[in-house]
């Protein structure tokens, strides 16, 4: 290798806020070799995205400026480049892909045109030649019918395909460096594995250098050659992957590694040890052959027959008091619909939901009243689930007043207890969600759920939006609350590792049906269903020697991949073959 493609020296980025200057990037130095994949790891606010924005001089606000250091791209000093010169670097020498392909692709422009746009502008090709080049790239990133799909719009694709399209846009002008900013965070694990494979293939074929920004050390362990750990704009540690993973020098890296959910924890065994008391005859929650169908949007008044889509298709579930049950599955598998149906937030098409013996379909009023006072939900996005105009104190007081079980005079004291339970400082009483972090907001959300003194808490992807260390704290909080208050917890997540650490029992859902159910340890150690096995194998393990599944997994979310699961264990040929191979 002939020297680094990119060499960053003492890069410093500052922003003036209220008269004082805050340092966002503090003298960071990094090298990127040709064909290297560098993992930038850190939590939100650590400055990992900021570094990459600084590299192409697309800082999010004009006030933020590079105040020192140098960025050498093959020996040329980028910090000295003006805007015109930078345009010839962006897209041409450094391509970027982003976390959310849906918002980063132009929704009203054909996918192919977005790829061809850069080719036409930077390489001066004509319309037809650019189209040919774009079709070629679409094929390279895994579009099965590039010629036809050129004319599709982003919304016609799944999230994984959109990310492939985003990669195609970034590769359109054959850049030397690809910056991937959390490229798989918004995707399901199986799709994530495909995208990561694609990135590695592209690196191998094109000699591309990749900067991969992620908060997931598992991804880094699987894909990267070297790791840089950032916190508060400072580079804490930088080195070859195996060295950093095996022998982390900095205490923060150690804590990151420890909070990674695939790390075996005593928590998992603890959860298994604490078996729900079977002596209680009656389950707290019983779901029997539940079906929830949604009508597909038709043409209104004059549309013909509407084909309803079954989001939940014949699910039966029993949850005993004090049990912690995890529901896992990809997006679209019906996890959230099931949760909403249980709480009576979505009309049931058929089947039964009974809560403490009270039947939702038969005795709707009574059961709903019961559910509202004895069950509570914690939502995925802590910011959107809290009313931005209410202080935390006002929010909790509202719940307690409406609930009516707490005497008015007792409410302030009860609010104090709730904050203590979720380990929030009492100073938060007068704060609004805007001025709180994601983790603090989620604690407030949990406090609100606890306010009704529930027997059952349903947590729907409640840590998905949080950083790993915060995730670990919230999981610890749940574990603690569970034992202290004898809560029954229904924990919905796409993250199998978290479920494994927290739950006694796990239910795997696929396309509205339960494909596997059992004790956590048993299911994860020896999954009996190929879909569960595929899900588990797709998790990037923190151990670099346990690689991602090789080859191209067909997207599990596409209907064609697995034609019918009703007559299980009928699985797509692909997975059977894969199983035989292994």
């Amino acid at each position: 290798m002939s020297g680094p493609v990119l060499s960053i020296r003492n890069l410093t980025v500052k922003v003036p806020i209220d008269g004082e200057t805050r340092t966002l990037i503090d003298a960071v130095s990094l090298d990127l070799a040709r064909g290297e994949i560098l993992g930038l790891v850190g939590e939100s606010g650590s400055g990992k995205s900021m570094i990459c924005r600084a590299l192409v001089k697309l800082l999010p606000s004009p006030a933020i400026a590079i105040t020192g250091g140098s960025i050498l791209l093959e020996g040329r000093e980028l910090t000295a480049f003006d805007e015109d010169a930078m345009r010839a670097v962006r897209g041409v020498e450094i391509g970027m892909i982003f976390q959310n392909p849906t918002s980063h692709l132009d929704p009203v422009m054909r996918i192919g045109d977005q790829i061809a746009e850069g080719i036409r502008y930077h390489q001066g090709l004509g319309r037809d030649q650019a189209r040919l080049a774009a079709v070629d790239i679409l094929g390279q990133v895994g579009f099965p019918h590039p010629e036809r799909q050129y004319d599709s719009y982003p919304h016609e694709f799944s999230g994984g395909m959109r990310q492939r399209a985003m990669i195609a846009v970034a590769l359109s002008c054959n850049p030397k460096i690809l910056i991937a900013d959390e490229p798989t965070t918004a995707l399901d694990v199986t799709i994530q594995a495909q995208i990561l494979r694609l990135l590695m293939d592209l690196r191998d074929k094109r000699g591309l250098s990749i900067i991969l920004i992620t908060h997931d050390l598992g991804i880094v362990a699987q894909t990267c050659d070297s790791i840089a750990v950032l916190r508060n704009g400072q580079l804490l540690e930088h080195g070859p992957k195996r060295r950093v993973l095996a022998d982390p020098q900095h205490a923060y890296t150690v804590s990151l590694l420890e909070s990674h959910p695939s790390t075996p924890q005593e928590g998992g065994s603890r959860a298994i040890a604490k078996v729900a008391p079977q002596s209680l005859a009656r389950p707290l929650l019983e779901v029997d052959d539940l079906v929830v169908r949604f009508p597909t949007p038709g043409l209104g008044l004059f549309s013909g027959k509407k084909k309803p889509v079954a989001a939940v298709n014949g699910v039966s579930l029993r949850i005993m008091p004090g049990e912690t049950v995890g529901i896992v599955g990809e997006s679209g598998s019906g996890k959230s619909t099931l949760a909403r149906a249980i709480l009576g937030l979505t009309p049931l098409t058929s089947g039964h939901v009974s809560f403490e013996g009270s039947e939702l379909a038969q005795n709707r009023r009574h059961t709903l009243a019961k559910l509202r006072t004895e069950a509570a939900m914690v939502f995925q996005d802590p910011y959107n689930a809290l009313n931005p105009r209410l202080t935390i104190g006002a929010m909790l007081a509202e719940v307690l007043t409406v609930q009516g079980n707490t005497p008015l005079a007792r409410i302030p004291a009860r609010i104090g207890e709730l904050l203590d339970l979720v380990e929030l400082d009492h100073a938060f009483l007068n704060r609004r969600p805007r001025s709180m972090s994601g983790g603090q907001c989620q604690r407030a959300g949990i406090a609100r759920a606890l306010a009704v003194n529930p027997k059952l808490i349903i947590a729907d992807e409640c840590v998905a939006a949080l950083d790993v260390t915060i995730q670990a704290q919230i999981i610890d909080l749940f574990r603690d609350l569970k034992t202290r208050m004898n809560l029954t917890l229904l924990f919905i997540s796409h993250d199998l590792a978290i479920v494994r650490n927290l739950c006694d029992r796990v239910v795997v859902m696929y396309r509205g049906e339960i494909v596997e159910e059992g004790r956590c340890g048993a299911v994860f150690d020896s999954p009996s269903h190929a879909y569960t096995a595929a899900l588990i194998s797709a998790i990037p393990d923190i151990d670099p020697d346990k690689p991602l599944p090789k080859g191209d997994l067909p997207p599990l979310s596409e209907p064609k991949a697995v034609p019918d699961l009703r007559g299980q264990p009928l699985i797509s040929m692909h997975y059977q073959q894969r199983e035989q191979r292994s």
Binding site: V56, G91, S103, H104, D106, P107, M109, L301
Partner: protein, 312 residues
């Protein structure tokens, strides 16, 4: 082309809407105080003469029967006979529709020609002087009443500068256009103000959006980012605002045609109301209602063509 299938079905849905409108119009017209026969006869009115006129125009029939005749006529493409002008209402409207149609089209076109560049300048200079200037102008445009604005424009362009005609409507095309400048400018100044406010806000959001960042990250110059990505992604809300404002625009023509003495539908409507010419008021109101419904239908089609995600 499945997305455009609603074009076939939507007109069927619009029929009940128009039926409802016809009832409302019929009742509202009859709520106007006064008696057309009395207005028509003026000083010659005697009880027998009034009764004769009322019988002649079917005004002595019960209301529901009058409505039935109204519908029956509509079904045959007729709207009855004007009491004042003594000719068929449709024929009367046909003679008056061209100036109004041209005025509305010119006003909309002018509004768009003003609103898009103004919003573009404001959004791309967000927070700077140009942005504030645009905001002040558009606030003024919303605040100033059209009749006053019309008079000021006449004083400036026709009286002081003498470059444009004061009022009326020409005979030749060039003459007509010259007569249309001030009236359509009057409407466009108010309408473009509303559009600018909405479009500017949408553009500011779109300029900061992820898709704009992504376009910049692939090296697109700011002009391309703006006109090819930001503009198409900001149009839909403003387009719908424009469609909603067509009703307001038609109301605007009533005022503007009166001020500029343009022999259009608005002027016809005002005169018909004053002379209690029920048939004409009904007819003109029906045409306005149909136009509003039609424009919203067209706006739906344009919306779908602008944003491939939208299905109606």
């Amino acid at each position: 082309m499945h997305r455009y299938r609603f074009v076939l079905f939507r007109p069927l849905q619009l029929l009940p809407v128009l039926f409802g409108i016809s009832i409302i119009i019929f009742i509202l017209v009859r709520l106007i105080p006064g008696d057309p026969a009395r207005v028509l006869l003026g000083t010659r009115s005697t009880p027998t003469a009034i009764a004769r006129i009322r019988a002649q125009y079917g005004l002595d029939e019960p209301l529901w029967l009058q409505y039935f005749y109204f519908l029956e006529n509509l079904g045959q493409g007729e709207m009855g006979k004007s009491i004042l002008y003594k000719i068929d209402v449709l024929k009367l409207i046909a003679t008056r529709i061209e100036p109004t149609l041209t005025l509305v089209l010119a006003s909309v076109l002018l509004s768009i020609l003003i609103a898009v560049p103004m919003s573009a300048i404001a959004a791309r200079n967000n927070g700077r002087l140009a942005d504030h200037a645009v905001r002040i102008v558009s606030t003024l445009g919303i605040g100033l009443p059209p009749f006053w604005l019309a008079l000021m424009l006449i004083i400036l362009f026709s009286v002081r500068l003498g470059v444009l005609p004061v009022s009326g409507y020409g005979e030749t095309i060039g003459d007509k256009l010259a007569h249309l400048v001030l009236p359509s400018l009057t409407i466009a100044l108010s309408l473009s103000a509303v559009l600018t406010r909405s479009l500017r806000a949408a553009m500011i959001v779109a300029l900061k959006s992820d898709l704009a960042t992504a376009a910049r990250a692939r090296g697109m110059p700011e002009n391309v980012v703006f006109w090819r990505h930001v503009l198409p992604n900001s149009l839909v809300p403003t387009l719908n605002l424009l469609a909603v404002n067509i009703g307001w625009l038609i109301g605007g023509t009533v005022v503007v045609e009166t001020v500029f003495a343009i022999p259009g539908m608005g002027q016809l409507l005002v005169r018909a109301i004053f002379s209690r010419d029920y048939m004409v008021v009904q007819g003109v109101a029906m045409v306005f209602a149909c136009a509003t419904v039609l424009v919203n239908f067209l706006a739906d089609i344009v919306t779908v063509s602008l944003d491939p995600r939208i299905r109606l």
